[in-house]
């Protein structure tokens, strides 16, 4: 039996609007029916474009988001239906590493306090001394000096902060760690350090990972099994090598072909499948196959009307495409070759953005009148930032 199994998990965020009392006028279908299983000791990688629901799914596993529907079976228990307090206790075994190493550390807690917080919550270690011993041990493991204990997060470099984040998860000795974009905020040279560390720890502690990232190369590097997400659902799942060798879903194919490889030979000779347009809004997903609006292999039948199921094509290769076999066998031509790289995409993304602005505007109104200076920041930056294309943070500007 798998250690962690997701069965038809859905997370829908209600979109609220109203003159006097808020009323639900729609949903953002962030995660829309995902089933997958993760074996103990394995690394499961999740990739997909920004906004496709990776983070939401990751959080749903820990029930940091409400799960609208479906089961999250962890070691035999369905987390989705656990009472609050039970769930809290389960979290000891399921941990998370966050994308933003600085943002996920409380700026006012020193490292010792950050690391012992979770231990205290789960009653690990009889007293602070005992906990400190344990923490020191973990610190050594993640390559941080023990004198880091008394320091504060802002005194560390990016890579070190991420190590702290990892250490925080490790002190609880969890079974599963969910890593949400653990390296995307880091510089390339640091990325490798953290990736190596993750692998090393997995080996020495026998951990199970769910690694979320938008960088296919990163995911492939450390995952045993990869799931490719598109607009809230899995479109393809396969063992890492298999996926690279034979991507079956048109989206995966496009994704693969778009990832730049630091090798001129490869770059010059590869065939690119350019997708047209952008990711549609999860608040208003296309009918049928979610991908059909951008799919170069789109067919007149089925694609726009029927939602494809994940079908196992053997070797643990599961694909959600009506025409996967036909494409694999080369029986279908891609409309792509002649299609310019710049075909119009559906304009629906803007809808989602409007909703987001409204949401933010509401919050803003509540907070208005308090501190205008704060407001400046929000007003300028707030609206829209949620709609920015990618999740990859801009490297912090100085000054």
């Amino acid at each position: 039996m798998s250690l962690l199994e997701l069965k038809g998990v859905k997370v829908h965020f209600p979109v609220k609007k109203g003159i006097f009392f808020d009323r639900v006028v729609g949903h953002v279908y962030a995660v829309d029916g995902i089933s997958l299983s993760v074996e103990a000791g394995q690394t499961y990688g999740l990739v997909g474009e920004s906004g496709c629901g990776k983070t939401t799914l990751g959080r749903a596993v820990l029930r940091l988001n409400d799960i609208t529907e479906g089961e999250v079976v962890f070691d035999g228990t369905d987390l989705a239906s656990l009472p609050e307090e039970e769930m809290r206790r389960q979290r000891q075994r399921l941990q998370m590493v966050f994308q933003d190493p600085l943002g996920s550390l409380n700026p006012r807690q020193n490292i010792e306090s950050i690391l012992s917080e979770g231990m205290a919550a789960h009653g690990i270690g009889a007293n602070q001394d005992e906990r400190r011993e344990k923490i020191k041990e973990i610190l050594a493991k993640v390559g941080l000096p023990t004198n880091a204990l008394a320091r504060y997060p802002h005194e560390f470099s990016g890579g070190q902060r991420q190590r702290i984040g990892i250490a925080r998860a490790l002190v609880l000795e969890p079974d599963v760690i969910i890593c949400d974009e653990p390296v995307s905020a880091l510089d390339v040279s640091i990325q490798a350090q953290v990736l190596n560390l993750l692998e090393e720890i997995q080996d020495s502690m026998g951990l199970t990972y769910v690694v979320i990232a938008h960088d296919l190369a990163v995911v492939r590097h450390i995952s045993d099994v990869i799931g490719v997400m598109y607009l809230g659902s899995l479109v393809e799942e396969a063992p890492s090598d298999l996926l690279y060798a034979e991507p079956k879903h048109p989206y995966t194919k496009a994704l693969m072909s778009a990832v730049p490889v630091p090798d001129p030979e490869v770059e010059d000779n590869r065939e690119r499948i350019l997708l047209t347009g952008d990711l549609p809004s999860p608040a208003n997903p296309p009918s049928g196959c979610r991908f059909h609006t951008r799919c170069p292999w789109k067919q007149d039948t089925l694609c726009a009307t029927d939602r494809p199921e994940l079908k196992d094509l053997g070797d643990g290769h599961r694909v959600a495409c009506h025409y996967a076999t036909e494409i694999a066998e080369g029986r279908l031509r891609r409309s792509g070759e002649s299609v310019p790289a710049t075909l119009p995409g559906p304009p629906s993304l803007t809808h989602e953005m409007h909703e987001m602005h409204e949401r933010e505007e509401q919050e803003e109104q509540e907070e208005r009148a308090v501190d205008t200076a704060q407001k400046v920041q929000k007003g300028q930056k707030g609206p829209g930032s949620g709609a920015s294309g990618g999740d990859e943070p801009a490297p912090a500007r100085e000054g």
Binding site: L144, S240, A341, S385
Partner: protein
């Protein structure tokens, strides 16, 4: 003749009560028409500052700029503000990293495009609007007349970057600077934008300075590559020789630390230890030395020069370049990493003080 020839560019930030910060020093490169020159390096190595200096967009106060940037016989760095204003948009244009924040949120796209036509091409009213629509169409924005009336937040990320490109090419500049134009975008969108840039360069013969930290992008797009480390070009070469044989330990390390999609799985990454902030205030010496696996005693003194140790056109700033057969310098190294790394914890706030992070010593010595 080169379209743009940058020679010994150096940029120093000065601030009262603080030590001068050299962001860029002695950077030189040429760009020919129709050529794509890459500038790669980690965050903070001086890529953006270089591009801003060329565009004359650095603040007036608190910055010292040295060297020359010869464009068509004029030195961009010594042009008057007004002359530079005339150059920008017509001769040189720029595309920025974050397409959302680079567009004025409260002004419709149309106005943002037409204002440049009005300024440099003297177009007015309907004519300008039509030209703007054509421009949007050219960069692949569907339904351009409608888009003209929309605001940046109503466009998707890729669309915004296209709009920015439309503005950049509005007056057919001969030189384009793109500062991480795809970093904020998804890979599928990135592919589209890169394709568009390639097209522009090919069709118009524009010179393109491509700034990025993604070696993959460089590998696919650039003709020449300059690798920057802490404000200096550490390696400069044609694309193929560079990727075939990265000679500077930094470029070498960089390539070794990127997981490649096409590499066999299970292959170990070879990270560079520490971070770019790890530079002691060496009075002299190579800035990369503290992180370098190949450093020798010489690295700790005198600044190495850009030389062409191996092939013509392949320059490296290193006294102990990585060539076939050279191995990481172990002598005393492990000890150093051990002793310093054990108790040194980085100060991320400034690069002034030492910060040697304990790297994964296992890899470092393997």
């Amino acid at each position: 003749m080169a379209l743009l020839s940058v020679d010994e560019l150096s940029i120093t930030f000065t601030r009262r009560g603080q030590r001068d910060a050299k962001a860029v020093s002695g950077v030189s490169f040429d760009i020919d028409p129709g050529q794509v020159v890459g500038l790669v390096g980690e965050s903070g190595c001086g890529k953006s500052v270089t591009s801003l200096a060329l565009m004359g967009l650095l603040p007036d106060k608190g910055v010292r700029i040295g060297g020359t940037a010869d464009y068509d016989g004029t030195d961009l760095l010594s042009l008057s503000k007004n002359r530079m204003r005339d150059m920008r948009g017509t001769q040189l244009a720029m595309i920025f990293q974050d397409p959302l924040s680079s567009l004025n949120p409260v002004v419709p796209i149309g106005v943002q495009v037409t204002e440049i036509l009005k300024r440099h091409r003297g177009m007015k009213g309907e004519a300008a609007r039509k030209e703007a629509a054509d421009l949007l169409d050219r960069v692949g924005i569907p339904d351009p007349t409608r888009r003209l009336k929309e605001y940046p937040h109503q466009l998707s990320g890729g669309m915004r970057q296209r709009a920015l490109i439309a503005m950049a090419v509005a007056c057919a500049p001969r030189m384009l600077i793109a500062d991480e134009p795809t970093t904020a975008l998804d890979v599928t969108i990135q592919a589209q934008i890169l394709e568009l840039l390639k097209e522009l360069v090919d069709q118009e013969g524009t010179g393109l300075l491509m700034i990025t930290h993604d070696l993959g992008v460089v590998a696919g797009l650039c003709d020449k590559v300059n690798v920057l480390y802490a404000g200096r070009v550490v390696e400069s070469a044609e694309r193929r020789p560079l990727f075939a044989a990265p000679t500077h330990p930094y470029s070498h390390g960089l390539l070794g630390s990127i997981p490649r999609l096409d590499a066999p799985r299970g292959e170990k990454l070879n990270p560079i230890r520490g971070s770019i902030n790890d530079n002691i205030e060496w009075a002299d010496g190579c800035a990369f030395a503290p992180r370098c696996d190949y450093y020798t005693m010489e690295c700790l003194t005198g600044t190495p020069q850009l030389t062409e140790p191996l092939t013509a056109g392949h320059q490296v700033r290193c006294v102990n370049p990585v060539v076939e057969g050279s191995t990481p310098n172990d002598d005393g190294d492990a000890g150093r990493a051990e002793s310093a790394g054990e108790d040194a914890v980085g100060d991320a706030r400034d690069g002034k003080s030492a910060d040697i992070e304990k790297a994964d010593t296992t890899e470092a010595s393997s």
